[in-house]
Structure formats: structure tokens, C-alpha cells
Symmetry: C2
Subunit: 459 residues, 2 copies
């Protein structure tokens, strides 16, 4: 990942690499270019690695960034007495075809589909912001270690920031994955932006049923051309899982904690981005992760939906109904918001209610009208953890009477995706209601472990 940034930047020269002042001076003296391997000596400390460009946002001019042996970037703060020496020339990769330059027949085959996002992004030097840009082939070139893990077939499917991924994109990704699986790969990796990665993963869980091999979605929280990007480690882990995990379901792989010690693979329908910036932003909610990945070791933490079985026949059902909304309730919420959805022809609404599944009384008559108009209504909780239980309080009982379906311990995002899928794949409202209330791909359980609840750091 970082290497590819070098490959791009090496053509623009050191002075355009983002370095300035003392650092630029020291680098120029050493004769090193971006992409070269350098050695930095400072007091007793010696650091060596591939010289990386600096991102132009938030650069501290006193740091030099190198990619070290582990595949991660390190920022070294230079002082005036340090010395920098070039100890190796940049190796340019030679992009040729989609597949690996020299396939190793003993390795499993994995398809990597790129859809965009930080894992495949670089800084846009015009707006100063990060844009999706790198191709799947670039990813592969950027993480040469991948060659030792699998024979990769890389494809660029989309180049979108994940907040812009729509249900049409889910359909397109699902079809492409089905096509890849038909060719006999051992697994499929999908690189995706993290903002809506959980939702796309959930959508693929419903669209790709009866999977014979794993489908692994992966993202990164730090742009690939920045220090301490998690892109390389996440991508290698995702590829390993796709190639070797004895599971056949859609998973999400990301850092398990904020360091680089291990990754978690989560069930796609039960994972949520719970932090805006930490590498371990993704957490399984109301359940445990499926696998822990530490280096080359894959440890199963809870049983997958299906075991890997290449003979199993994939059932592709990639349609989604677009006219489904998600509304989080709040004090004083106005029923006209719901009336508007009914009038606009919406077919379904997922409510993110309070507590055990309640709404303000002010919207109840509008919900009744929506239900009578044939709109499918479902309830999740904005608490995120725990399950709805609409039999405890008067409000819940009233909502059940109207026909609001309790979504048990399902995430509201998964409930939205499932409702879109259910309405896209059933003709009658009755069948849609039935499907919504039946666990199809492990998206909810009738009993969740009480212990799967966060404790907050520093308590």
C-alpha cells in the first residue's frame, strides 16, 4: 500500500514529496529518493526502511516517514545531529496483467475486488482531502507479501467513497462476487471504505446465500500513504481468511485493537463501526467475533454459519428495494416525517426507537396510518447493545398492536438492509413480514449473551 504511494510519487521528485526544512535538507544530502531504502542514525538509535512521501495534511515538518519491515509506516522525528544514508534503490513494480506475474500453483486463488475507500485512497493535492484512487492491482503491488499468501486476481469494480455506495452498487458487487466464485477461487476479498462497510457486508450476506467459500470485506482507517496505515495488515489478513478460513459466510476483517497485534473477523450482519478514527473501530455487537487473525494463525472464536464447501451451490438474490427509510426517534419527533414517507410511496421503515423499542406518542397515529397503507414497519433500538422487548411497557404493546415488527437484537443498519432485501425479493407483505422475523443468515439471535457489552477504557 505504502509502496505504491512511493511508486506514484517517485516521479514527482523529493521536493514535491511533502518534506521541507531540515528533513528535506538531510534527505537531499543523502541522495535518497522516495522509495529508496534508507538508514537513519540518531544518537544510539538506528532506523531503516523505505522512504515514504509525507501527506500534505497535518504534516509535522520535523518527521521523516519510513515503511519498516513489518509493512507499517514509522514517523521518526529528526534532530540536527542525525545522519541519513541511502542503503538500497527503489524497486519499481511492473504492472502488467490482472493476475499475478508468476502464479504459484501451490497457493490458493483469491479474487480481490476494489470498490474504493481509504484502503484504496490517496491524498488529493488539489482539495487537500483523501480520495479513492488506487486500483486493486495497485493494492497487490503495494503489498508484495500478498504473493506469498495467495494467487491474487485483482479487479477494480467501483471507485467510490463508501458513503456514496447505494443498493445498486450492492447488487453489482454481489453479481461480481458470484461470477468470481464460479471461476473456482478459494475466497473473495472486497476492499471497501469503512463508513458503510458494515452495511454493504450485511447486504452481501442476504444477496449471497448458501456461500461455498468466504467473502471477506476489508477496509482501513488510515489512508494508505500516511504513517501507521492499517491497510497492509488488514488486506493480508483478509486474503488469508478468504484463502484458508474454514468458513463460508460474509465477514468483515479489521484491526482487533489499536496496535498491530491482531485482527478480528466479524459476522457481516452483526458488526458496526463504533469509532470515527481508531483502527479497532469495528466491533461485533451482541455477539463475539468469528475469528482472530494473528500473523499467519487463524483462531476460531465462534462457529461460522457454514463450513467451506466448494461444491455448495451459491444462491444469488441481489435485488434490493430502494424505498425503505431508517428513522431514529427523538423527543418531540413529528409524525409528518412519517406521513411524508407514506405519501412518497415508501414501502418500509425501520425505526431506531429508544430503550426496549419505544417511540414518542406523537408519531404513533402516523405509524398506524403507515401500517394501514401497507408500509412494513420494524423496530430496533438506538441503544445499539441489547435487544428490543416491546412487551414490557405500554408504548411497546401499542406499537406491536399497530403491526411494528420487533427486530430482537438486530443492528438497525442490518435491519434496514434486510428490509430492503426482503421487500426486493418477496411479493406479498405477509411473506415480507415472515422473512423479516426469521433469522436467515445469523443476523439476529433469539438470545444474546449478556456479556457481549462494552466496558469503557479508563473505568
Amino acid at each position: 500500500m505504502q509502496v505504491i504511494a512511493c511508486r506514484v510519487r517517485i516521479q514527482v521528485g523529493l521536493e514535491e514529496s511533502g518534506y521541507c526544512g531540515l528533513v528535506l535538507e538531510k534527505l537531499t544530502t543523502s541522495g535518497a529518493s522516495i522509495g529508496d531504502t534508507i538508514e537513519i542514525r540518531q544518537g544510539d538509535a538506528v532506523y531503516s526502511g523505505i522512504l515514504m512521501p509525507r501527506s500534505q495534511i497535518g504534516s509535522d515538518p520535523a518527521h521523516v516517514v519510513i515503511k519498516i519491515g513489518s509493512g507499517y509506516n514509522l514517523g521518526v522525528r529528526l534532530n540536527a545531529t542525525c545522519t541519513i544514508r541511502r542503503i538500497g534503490k527503489s524497486k519499481r513494480t511492473q504492472p502488467s496483467s490482472e493476475s499475478a506475474d508468476s502464479a504459484d500453483e501451490s497457493l490458493p486463488s483469491v479474487a480481490i475486488l476494489s470498490t474504493g475507500g481509504t484502503i484504496a485512497s490517496k491524498v488529493d493535492y488539489q482539495t487537500g482531502a483523501v480520495n479513492p484512487a488506487l486500483s486493486a492491482r495497485d493494492l497487490y503491488d503495494a503489498v508484495p507479501e500478498l504473493r506469498h499468501h495467495a494467487n491474487i486476481r485483482a479487479k477494480v469494480l467501483l471507485s467510490k467513497l463508501s458513503e456514496n455506495i447505494s443498493s445498486d452498487d450492492w447488487t453489482r458487487i454481489a453479481r461480481r462476487i458470484a461470477a468470481e466464485i464460479k471461476t473456482g477461487v478459494e475466497g473473495v476479498v472486497v476492499a471497501h471504505g469503512t463508513d458503510t462497510l458494515g452495511l454493504t457486508a450485511a447486504a452481501l450476506s442476504f444477496a449471497l446465500q448458501n456461500l461455498p467459500v468466504p467473502v471477506v470485506l476489508v477496509g482501513s482507517q488510515r489512508s494508505s500513504d500516511r504513517p501507521s496505515s492499517d491497510a497492509a495488515m488488514n488486506l493480508i489478513g483478509a486474503t488469508d481468511l478468504a484463502a484458508r478460513a474454514d468458513a463460508a459466510e460474509v465477514m468483515v476483517v479489521m484491526h482487533g485493537e489499536t496496535g498491530d497485534s491482531y485482527l478480528y473477523a466479524h459476522r457481516a450482519t452483526r458488526v458496526r463501526k463504533l469509532h470515527t478514527s481508531r483502527r479497532d473501530a469495528f466491533k461485533s455487537v451482541n455477539t463475539k467475533p468469528l475469528f482472530m487473525v494473528q500473523g499467519v494463525s487463524i483462531t476460531e472464536l465462534s462457529p461460522p454459519l457454514h463450513r467451506r464447501l466448494k461444491e455448495r451451490k451459491l444462491v444469488l438474490r441481489p435485488r434490493f428495494e430502494e424505498k425503505v427509510a431508517l428513522l431514529k426517534t427523538y423527543p418531540g419527533m413529528d409524525g409528518r416525517l412519517i406521513d411524508h414517507l407514506v405519501d412518497d410511496g415508501y414501502k418500509g421503515l425501520v425505526l431506531e426507537g429508544t430503550g426496549l423499542g419505544h417511540t414518542p406518542e406523537g408519531i404513533i397515529s402516523s405509524l398506524k396510518r403507515a401500517s394501514e397503507a401497507g408500509m412494513l414497519l420494524a423496530m430496533t433500538s438506538q441503544c445499539i447493545f441489547g435487544r428490543v422487548d416491546m412487551n414490557v411497557y405500554r408504548t411497546g404493546v401499542e406499537l406491536l398492536d399497530i403491526g411494528v415488527i420487533p427486530c430482537e437484537d438486530m443492528l438497525s443498519e442490518t435491519a434496514l438492509v434486510k428490509m430492503m432485501w426482503v421487500l426486493g425479493n418477496t411479493r406479498s407483505l405477509e411473506a415480507a413480514r415472515d422473512n423479516l422475523q426469521s433469522p436467515l443468515v445469523g443476523e439476529f439471535e433469539m438470545r444474546s449473551e449478556y456479556s457481549d457489552y462494552p466496558s469503557i477504557g479508563g473505568e
Copy 2:
């Protein structure tokens, strides 16, 4: 809490107490009535406590429920060989006036205002659901230990399920608290349903500025007439904090973990209900709790906004603008939802975007139109933990250009309440924008501790 349930039920007799079968038989033989102190001997075990009625929902007919010395309810599963003996008669309390029967002049004075919710609820035997019912005086009678902690002046202000609390109620509660503080109490406790407890607490933080004494909101996750209710412990802890904590801000007090070992007091603007049913559902987000309460010991965990100072002059600003909405973004979200708000005269909109503060591109033109129409727009993250940063990606930069205000590490619920308050208390949009971006009562920080992030149990 539990005792009061007895007081109500004792009038209906044992056979209507919810007990049946073996348990009813054993109780009848013993001659005990609801509210009496009984002793149960079963094998080597001896349990004693006040006989409680069973709730009619989810009753296991083989259990008897007693209130033990700690103030908590215990369910004992009876077998045929057990013996039950009545060892004390029920003490009926004699409700008379609002204030304590015999005030102890050496104790601090605390006002307890009841607004409804589980902490003041009982089972509705008609619908089978839990309704708000008990008065503040009932609360006091129910937890006789309170007499030793403070001189209580108890008032019923509202009797509402918290999902139905509106901004008019916030105004009313704020005014009542201000009036109580004027009488010279050491602190005020507000009993409130948990669903929207955090929002009411945040609203009071903005409405009651420059507080001289603490205002403590408290709820309970288990109905007061059920085994293992957290109502008594939470109420005692809240009263202690109101009476003695060296802090003058609005706080939320609830269980700190799922057992009965300690409580946390959270800053009102930074706490969220994160679990539908656990007693430790409330967590401080992006910050640490303010106090830990263990028995009679109060430990400060992070500095309060102000220290207690009875001479400080409270500034009451209890107005809230109702025409403010909260929308959580999702894939394929339709801009017409926002157009509808503009056309309906909404003055403000808090977006709960993805990741660092992004929305799908499909709603951006509607947001632009809303901004041009003079609607105040603000961005929070549906990740919940972490802070928005709209300078990193193209979408964020675009939204900033439109005029969307980044809410840093503020909870979306707090941002909604703050926007309602800001628009209710400023005349110009410019002043509203300024107020929204300035931390007024600790509702956000420009830098949050990286460590205040959940680790999930079982990892």
C-alpha cells in the same frame, strides 16, 4: 421502592399477589401477608426479608420474592421441603405531608422531583405492561434508608414514560428545579425514565447554567416491583450526590456495572444509554464519569464543571425551539426528506452522518438548499465514539462549504438538544452558529482521550 409496592398490594390479599401453586400454599400456611418479614429455610440455607408481590409478567411460579437487608429483591426457588415462617408484621407507612415526617436538622435538604419512568413504575395488571405510577413521596416511603441520608422534600412533577417527555417538559422541569434551588436545598434529584434520561439531562444542563448545587437525574432499568430492581440503590446514590458531592452541574447517576457494587455519576451532556436492559446501560462517551459512588463513599474521577457554591446565582434559560430534527444518514437516503423539513418550517437539523461526518452525495443538494433557506445544520457521527473531522475526505470538505457545523466529539442526542436550546435562545442565525460551536457546559471537547473507547466483553 419495593416496600411501597407491598403497601399497595397488601390491600388486595395474598391470592392476588401473583403467587400460585406451591408458593401460594406455603405462604398461606405461614400466615404471612405481602409486606411481612418472613424467613425461608431450605436445606442448610436460611433467607429472610420482606415478602414482595410477584409481577404478573414472566413470573416463575416456583419462586418467592423477598426484599433483603441491602434493599434489593431476591428470588428464592422453593422446593417442597422448605419451610416459611413469618417473623415480623408489615409496617404500613402513613403518607401525610410532602416533607419528611420528622426532619433531622443535622442532615442536608434535598428535593426529589418525580417525572415518571421505571424508577417510579408498577405493573399495569390490565395491559400486563409497566406504567409510571408511584409518586415521589412513594419513592421516599419505599426506600426508608433515605431518611438517614437527607431531609427529603418529594414532589410529583410529571407522570410520563420518558419516550413521551417533550421540550415543554424540559422547560417545566428546569423551572421547578430553579424554584427548588431558591428554597436553599443542597441539591435536587430528578427521577426519570431511562429511555430519554440522557436527553432531558442534557437539556437541563443548557437550561440551568451557573448552577450553585448539583442536579442529579436518576432512573432504574428494572421495574421497582420486580426482583433485583436497581431503583433503591440508584435513588440513594443520587440523593447522596445531590446532598454531598462537591460539584455543581447536571449529572446522571446509574449502576456502574451489572452487580450492585458501585454507581457512576456521568456528565449530563456526555452520557448515553448504550444497552436496552442492563443496569449499567449508561456510559460516558468520549470522556470519563465524574464520580464513583460505593456505599457512602463518593470518589471524584474527573473534575466537575463547577464546585458547589450556594451563593452562585443560577441563570435559568429554559426555552427550546421545537422545529429541530435529527436524521441519521443511510445508503440511498433521499434528499426529499430534508426538502420536507425545509418546507415544513424547520429551523435546524442535526445529521448523524457516517464515519468522520459524511452523508451520501444524494442529499447534498437538499442540504445546500436547506442551508440557503436559513436552516442551521450540524454534523455528528453515528459511530458514537470518536469525533467528527470533516477536513479529511472530499465529502466532509463539501459539507463544510455548504455551512454544516462539525460537532466535534458531541453526542448526536446532545447536539439535538443543544441546537433546540440555541435556537430557542438566540435571535440571529450567526449567534446560533457561534453558540453551537462553543462548548458551554462541557458538552464537547476539542480533544478527547483516545482511551475512552469500549472493549467488548468476551474478547
